[in-house]
């Protein structure tokens, strides 16, 4: 069989796996729903109201969030890995997640330090605050990195700057935490564990639309991504405006990461593991294939993580952040060992 035919069969298998996982995400959770009830909710005329709420109002938006978040983080990781020509790159390297964390820390913890009286003046804003603060924090770091990237040519320098910005944001966050009351760290802890359930039906439309825009933009970049694999000078010689192109890559990758981090918390490892996995399965560097397939595999693995996190038998849901690393790290090791 030719490589192409193998790839197409693998792709079909992955799509089926994805569909299966999507439905498992609807069927399985900490509340065990008998099959008859499930069947009724889907096909019967009169389903149980509670079952229907759990399946359609809770599990469905969560599965959809996992789908989009997985695709977004994985593509963001691919963009970073191609841009830096470094297989260890991922969006968190540029300090975007830490920036989001700092944003959250500032709103939650600062208002906490100022006491409830200050918070009461924020009213409804304090609830909306976490996503907004995370997005603002991530965007500010992104702007900073974009500013630096137009000044430094060397991408390794940019990685170092990104790491430093990340440490800086992390240290400011720790300082904020130090000056806070225990009760106020609560929200920060929750946000830090990551979850696909925070988006919910009401914000799902906005969340998925924002991500689709970013995913679409990354699909348009395939040609230039292929060319910059050769190196900056070659790319420039082939007519690519490398500086503008790099800026655009950072922008799209940062944008996707910022949105997911704002709503779901700093979800580690998908951005690192999925592009790796995809390259090793499909054995290609062609971004016209990689970008869409990375999205797809990102969705599938993310659904798997969400399923594991909500497996019955656990008290409460496992933090998604722990699950992604737990599943992602062995994948990367396995893939690397198999190669040799």
């Amino acid at each position: 069989m030719s490589r192409n035919k193998i790839n197409i069969s693998i792709l079909i298998a992955i799509i089926f796996l994805g569909i299966l996982l999507f439905f498992l995400n609807l069927f399985v959770g900490s509340v065990t729903i008998p099959f008859a009830d499930l069947f009724n909710v889907f096909f019967g005329s009169e389903g149980n109201q509670t079952v229907s709420t759990i399946v359609f109002d809770y599990r469905l938006p969560q599965a959809v969030t996992a789908l989009f978040a997985g695709a977004a983080l994985s593509v963001a990781g691919l963009l970073m890995q191609t841009l830096f020509r470094n297989p260890l790159a991922d969006p968190s390297m540029l300090g975007i997640s830490s920036g989001a964390g700092l944003g959250v820390a500032i709103t939650i913890l600062l208002t906490g330090i100022l006491g409830a009286s200050a918070l009461s003046t924020m009213g409804i804003w304090s609830n909306l605050g976490v996503s907004l603060a995370a997005f603002v924090g991530a965007t500010l770091v992104l702007m900073l990195i974009l500013g630096f990237s137009s000044r430094v040519r060397n991408m390794t320098t940019l990685i170092i700057i990104g790491l430093m910005v990340s440490y800086l944001a992390g240290s400011l966050t720790d300082i904020m935490k130090f000056f806070s009351m225990k009760e106020d760290i609560h929200a920060f802890v929750i946000w830090g564990m990551g979850s696909f359930s925070a988006v919910g039906t009401s914000k799902l439309m906005f969340f998925s639309t924002s991500i689709v825009i970013g995913l679409f933009a990354s699909l348009l970049m395939s040609k230039n991504l292929n060319v910059i694999l050769l190196g900056d000078l070659y790319a420039e010689n082939l007519g690519v405006n490398v500086k503008r192109n790099n800026l655009f890559i950072i922008l799209v990758s940062g944008y996707l990461t910022a949105i997911v981090t704002a709503y779901c918390g700093p979800i580690a490892f998908l951005g690192l593991a999925i592009p790796h996995l995809t390259r090793f399965i499909f054995k290609t560097s062609d971004h016209r294939i990689l970008v869409p397939v990375v999205m797809l595999i990102g969705m599938v693995v993310s659904l798997l993580c969400n399923l594991v996190a909500r497996m019955p038998g656990f008290e409460g849901n496992l933090p998604i952040n722990a699950v992604t690393a737990f599943i992602g790290a062995p994948i990367v090791i396995w893939v690397i060992l198999r190669k040799r």
Partner: protein, 245 residues
Amino acid sequence: MEVLRTKDLHIGYKDKAILPPINVSLDEGNLIALIGPNGAGKSTLFKTLTAHIKPISGSIELLGKELFEYSSKEKAMLIGLVLTERPDDMFLKVYDVVASGRCPYTNFFGKIEKEDENIIQESLEIVGINHLKDRYFNTLSDGEKQKVMIAKTLAQNTPIIFMDEPTAFIDYPSKIELFSLMKMLTKERNKTIIFSSHDLELLLRYTDDIWMISKGKELVSAKKDDLLESGILKEYFNLKEDIKI
């Protein structure tokens, strides 16, 4: 036909010229070697002539038109480049590297049309690496990699090709193979190739003209035959012995 001409060209970084003004011209179908010690400014000159850095002053004319007046896409169709740096990606295929030479010609999504395919195939065959096309680039020897990069440049279909030390890190038989390939491209395909090299004794056998640069000295362009006669090499580089072939 004249393909390249510089007038009072000052090259360097940040307003600091590293060589006296350069005035050279070049006809098509020539194989030019740029020689000089490390640090004399060979790569700065290459980067300036390939429009990667701006000249401090003076002009570069390419096919009768100022270099900076070309759009980046037009430049990509005029100047090809082979560097010492090589792509380093595990799953980059030889065919894909060569195909990327079609970048200035393909549409927004980089779709390879029938015509592009023919040109890629031809480039692979000219360089003699058709049998490698399905291999991963990373698994090739240095000499093979160099050929792939040359094939990429052929697919790019440019009249002028710059090569930065194409024969470095390559074993002796491959060096000879490469030089004859370059010679063949200039004579049979009418390309103009400018390359830098330290393989003085070998390159003297293949090139037409030689550009010499040395720190602070004016660039001297000489015909190979004149060079061997006059002992100018010995004088220019302060050598103890002259070079004989």
